[in-house]
Amino acid sequence: MTTTTYREAVRTALREALTRDSRTFLMGEDVGRYGGTYACSKGLIDEFGPERVRDAPLSESAFVGAGIGAAMAGMRPIVEIMTVNFSLLALDQIVNNAATLRHMSGGQFSVPLVIRMATGAGRQVAAQHSHSLECWYAHIPGIRVLAPGTLEDARGMLWTALQDPDPVVIFEHAALYNMEGELPDTAGPVDIERAAVRRPGRDVTLIAFGANLHKAMEAARLLAAEKIEAEVIDLRSLRPLDDATIMASVRKTRRAVVIDEAWRTGSLAAEVSARVMEQAFYDLDAPVGRVCTEEVPIPYPKHLEDAALPQPEKIVAAVKAQLGARA
């Protein structure tokens, strides 16, 4: 076991990819000498050179599009978009091109592209740099969407994603980069299909992903002190969703609360909730609950930002409301 950080796990995964596959290269803003805005590629330019760790001009549409072109021409590019907020400038390339070109070429082309980006709020960077738009991407057929919430997944999802012949978008929550933990020395590629039960429980299922997994775990600890045992599911893959794992848990606990840092309306929480209703309605003892971000632009001051975001206390309250429905 080694004590490490989420950031270091991402960097190790990048190094592994660049080492194992000569078709792989990393491109994005400030990924070279600067080492990436979140320092995920620090030092890699020295190991792999500026051709394979390539600084891009401030042109999200162009460098994502170039990733698509390079992937279609036989490479395995990893494109880093600094944050999800700037991915809006590349939406046409991701949604209208990466996701459709297999179809538009009658199957002639695969687009084996991996796009990584930081997501989420909680770091006081205000309304234009704090989005959680994972659900927008999870809406799109033709791409796979991943949200590593643990060190193992930060370390292991990238290589598996690179083996996928279709575009994969990986969301790394910016609040996670400094997260410390133990990683086995044998840690390596992981599956990118299944959700994971991170904590077993019998009274309620908390469904979360990314950084909010840890808020759900904290809520579960608070609930345990009150003898309420929450099961915590980490979605891991946001498209496709692993319905089987979700439903197995909900059928057991008969209650579900979905935690999602996106705005409630049209969120992944809405999608998960609809699926539980469709597939496990008669097993439920209470309507599915949702803990999402308040539907406001994310505030800058810490106390206001905290108030706007999902918090363990809000999750606890949502669970208690569910249990109240039992009485």
Binding site: A62, A66, I68, G69, A71, P77, N96
Partner: protein, 354 residues
């Protein structure tokens, strides 16, 4: 047609509208057989367009974008390329696609809404038609970078329209291609009209080629109705790219003699007199006149080309019309390489429901 250029933007023409050579011709153009090859490709393109429009007008093809009057841009660019280069066409470049080995049947399938037509039997690395306008310019940079990273002497050739040059992704792609010296050639098929918007309302720039200046790459204009000139200019750009000297931007000046697509009626916004004035400059008559002068091209040869082309296209149309439509079950086939479980379930449901 004359270049609208500024002193820093060169303009190239080899054969004038009357068919007369302008100065020394490039080597390939002194070989009559090579000129005939180009001529046949222009005729094939125009005949294909006419066939496709006829099929659309009789309800047997989807919306189609004819390249009437612009055939030399696409054919000239493709003729300059090597087989191992990659062609990234917009939606009016069937001339280049045909030259590169895409078949008339595949094109008809594509324009008939059958994506199997974009799974080319030849030209396996050429891109499918880009309809979203200019979004393939970044792809061209990516293809070029793949070649560069692999140390392959290959070039990505992207053809886009005048309207596309106003788009951010095109500006970004040109800039990035310049920074990275991506082995690529961007050919602007400037037919003067982006649906109903003339190029004067697209940009205040005197030329589209000068957009290269801002990207730090060579930019030039060429007579887009002169297939010899287009081929010569693109060949030079390809040679620069292959030598490691990076991308080029070429503005081919032509004119859209037809509607934007079969869904358009240009008479609603464009004066017929303007169109008529451009007919004497069209590319096929000028090469025919030139061939008559230098190679004694005569009526019998002309008729034989037309007959052979018509027969080829008739066979393609028959094969197209005889192609069984894709069964509903195929609708999910090209969403992912392997269908995720939930889509497999949707597929089963869709099939049971139908």
């Amino acid at each position: 047609m004359t270049g609208t250029g500024s002193p820093s933007i060169p303009f190239t023409r080899c054969i004038g509208p009357d068919g007369a050579a302008v100065g020394d011709l490039p080597d390939f153009a002194r070989n009559p057989a090579e000129l005939v090859r180009l001529y046949r490709a222009l005729v094939l393109t125009r005949s294909f367009d006419a066939k496709a429009v006829a099929l659309q007008r009789t309800g047997r093809l989807g919306t189609f974008a004819s390249s009437l009057g612009q055939e030399a841009v696409s054919v000239g660019a493709a003729a300059a390329m090597r087989p191992e280069d990659v062609f990234l066409p917009s939606f009016r470049e069937q001339g280049g696609q045909l030259w590169r080995g895409v078949t008339p049947l595949e094109l008809l399938l594509y324009w008939g809404g059958d994506e199997r037509g974009s799974d080319f039997k030849a030209a396996r690395e050429d891109f499918p038609v880009c309809v979203p306008v200019g979004s393939h310019a970044p792809h061209a940079v990516g293809v070029a970078m793949a070649f560069k990273l692999r140390r392959e002497k290959r070039v990505a050739v992207c053809v886009l329209g005048d309207g596309a040059t106003s788009k951010g992704d095109v500006a970004e792609a040109l800039n990035m291609a310049g920074v990275w010296k991506a082995p690529s050639v961007f050919v602007i098929n400037n037919n003067r009209w982006a649906i109903s918007v003339p190029v004067a309302r697209q940009t205040a720039a005197a030329t589209l080629a000068q957009k290269a200046v801002a990207a730090g790459i060579p930019g030039e204009q060429v007579d887009g109705n002169d297939v010899v000139a287009v081929r010569a200019v693109v060949e030079r750009a390809l040679a620069r790219a292959r030598a490691g000297d990076g991308p080029s931007l070429i503005e081919a000046l032509t004119y859209r003699l037809g509607d934007h697509t079969t869904a358009d009626d240009a008479s609603r916004y464009r004066d017929d007199a303007e169109v008529s004035a451009h007919w004497p400059e069209e590319p096929i008559a000028r090469l025919r006149h030139h061939l008559a002068t230098v190679a004694g091209w005569d009526k019998a040869q002309e008729e034989r080309v037309l007959e052979e082309t018509a027969a080829l296209l008739e066979r393609a149309a028959e094969a197209y019309l005889a192609t069984a439509p894709q069964p509903a079950a195929t609708v999910f086939d090209f969403t992912y390489a392997a269908l995720p479980a939930e889509l497999a379930a949707q597929r089963r449901q869709a099939l049971e429901g139908s």
